[in-house]
Amino acid sequence: MAFAPINKNYHDFFVVRDKDACINCQVCVRQCSYGVHFWDEARQCVRHDNTKCIGCHRCEALCPTQALLIQEKPSNFKANALWRPVFIKNIYKQADTGGVLLSGMGSPADIPVYWDNLLLDASQVTNPSIDPLREPMELRTFLGSKPTRLEFEETPEGPRVKTKLKPNIALNFPIMFSAMSFGSINFNLHIAMARAASELGTYYNTGEGGLHQSLYKYGKNTIVQVASGRFGVHRDYLNAGAAIEIKIGQGAKPGIGGHLPGEKINAKVSETRMVPIGSDAISPAPHHDIYSIEDLHQLIYALKEASEYKVPVSVKIAAVHNVAAIASGVVRAGADIVAIDGMRGGTGAAPAMIRDNVGIPIELALASVDQRLRDEGIRNNASIVAAGGTRCSADVVKAIALGADAVYIGTAALLAVGCTLCARCYTGKCPWGIATNDPYLAKRQNPDIAAKKMANLMKAWAHEIEEMLGGMGLNSIESLRGNRDKLRAVGLNQIELDTLGVKAAGR
């Protein structure tokens, strides 16, 4: 025992089992994919190993007698404001393994959430508020390049728009399902997203893992993504969706590539990505055909040529320090949509140091990009989609007031189907059947039920957005877009206020 790992007992969670309530039914044993619960033959009862618990709460949720409680293990380290337990534990782990700290989902670090400092306006006396339950309310949103000016011509049938319009996609409300690849999440959830998006009249993004043949029928509600690994990218794929997105960066891991471990590559994932079973699928950090804005222009137009200019091309970038200048270059390179992913965005796997320390929050990035594109007179050339840590409909409304045309939700959609943010997506053992391709686990997600839950969430948010808009006296989401006068800030300094372009509350 002299050389046992130091951190053997410094695990994060412990299981509290109510012995009176437990009926030894072994549901917990079957549900736990990490082997925490087990049947003790000698003692003829269910027991558990706390060290293996990752805090997903699956057993607690499914225990038929509510006998289980998963609790965070209180740290026994002496309190130290600098050396918080997370740092101590990570050092022990790295000393044991020499490994890079890997995690999943969005950052749990205490990165400022500016949404919480922004407050919305409402009408009082001077203009009437609108009741969306009884009055028309327009949430319809078009993404894509808009013309600088419109020309009309007279025809015998009446006036007609002469200007040739670029392709746009139409959303019934300004929320889409963010890029989550098939492989990182399983097929049941891809079906669910496709069905939910079709039912709702919005879009889901395939992520970089290709599109399974059986989902082509949802193409008109699909955005197909092209990332540096080009997995499953071919001409049919490019022409299968309603828009194409080039993924340059991801908010959770700006500047680094992707890496789907061989464990998650089963037959169906292999078929969709067109890579061998069990071999790692590595996405290089950059697209090696894009080393400049001019190169980006080249890929955008190669995609437009391959899709015959029928669909808008989006470019997704992570929110980093010079995001406004970068976004300007992206728009000038010919992107019809620029998607900005803030540093609180989720991921299937990212080195923790990158996830917790690289990038900037979406609120600041969004406001500065919108302002920059306006200042340069090119805001109409592209739509802005904001992503990365949108938790509720008020966040959506605030994003639109800061200048977004629409938002992508990823983590929220997974929460809708049971995710508890245990952040072990990269293991392929997700007990909720989400970030796993193991058929035993994946069948925990019924695509019909998952689609229903995702659609319910979106519908609920859409209603709330209508309520908030109505309260402000607006009857169209268009009237809110970039309308920062509808926002006021609390608890921010002058530089933050200037960057956000928002007045302090009371002013």
Binding site: R230, H234, I282, Q298, A302, A306, S307, E308, Y426
Partner: protein, 246 residues
């Protein structure tokens, strides 16, 4: 069908080609090509192109099936994410040839630039092959996941340069690079094994070189005078043990 690309903007040229293809045209000879981009991008099926001049960036990107012969050099990005087809370049090629190419074949008579064959991948019956008669720049076959690159180093405008640039095959986790003659060890990326080729390798090499020599009028016997080396990765999972859960 003879097309004259003199003073024609790429969008019009490509639009014209697409319209002709839609009408059932299958054979094209395009003259006076001077840097027009995206020729044959995303085209599908058994089409034939003979191009005189210098095609621009990203020729044959996302292409599936057609055969293209270029009498001249080509710019960057040939066969980007190509799925199927045959490209014969009677000249040199620029940077980023065959990026993420999944199938088909590219034969280049002379030298190629940097970052060639990055992330080439194979899948089931799809097995991309890239034959380079000249020398290659840095990062040849980086991240390579499948398929084969055959590098001859013979027909070159750079007699003093090494056969390949720095960091050849770095991050490679599948596929194979065959090199005629010696591989300068200092140009090779880490975690790769260099071995003499076996009979099966020679079968693949000879098959492709026969075609190469036929297309470009090169003497196969002269090409086969030197032995070939094989570069392969040690692991399909080069980063499998890199991480620890936190």
């Amino acid at each position: 069908m003879l097309l004259d690309a003199d003073n024609v903007y790429y969008r019009e040229l490509n639009q014209q080609i697409r319209e002709l293809v839609a009408k059932g045209e299958t054979e094209f000879e395009i003259v006076n090509v001077r840097g027009q981009r995206y020729i044959a991008d995303g085209l599908d099926g058994d089409l034939k192109f003979l191009i005189h001049g210098v095609p621009g960036q990203d020729m044959a990107a996302f292409m599936r099936g057609p055969t293209i012969r270029v009498e001249g050099n080509v710019q960057d990005g040939v066969a980007n994410t190509m799925d199927e087809g045959l490209i014969i370049i009677n000249g040199m090629a620029g940077d980023v040839v065959g990026y993420a190419m999944r199938g088909g074949k590219v034969l280049i008579k002379g030298d190629v630039g940097y970052r060639v064959g990055i992330h080439m991948k194979a899948y089931k019956e799809k097995f991309p092959v890239l034959v380079i008669g000249g020398k290659a720049g840095d990062f040849l076959g980086e991240y390579m996941a499948g398929g084969a690159i055959i590098l001859l180093g013979m027909i070159t405008g750079k007699p003093d340069a090494p056969i390949c640039g720095r960091s050849m095959g770095t991050g490679m986790h599948g596929g194979v690079i065959y090199v005629r003659g010696e591989i300068p060890a200092e140009q090779l990326g880490p975690n790769l094994k260099v071995e003499p080729v076996d009979a099966e390798d020679m079968k693949l090499i000879t098959e492709n070189l026969e075609q190469f020599c036929r297309e470009f009028g090169v003497d196969l016997k002269a090409v086969l005078t030197e032995p070939f080396q094989r570069v392969k990765p040690f692991s399909h999972r080069p980063y499998g043990n890199l991480y620890v859960a936190c």
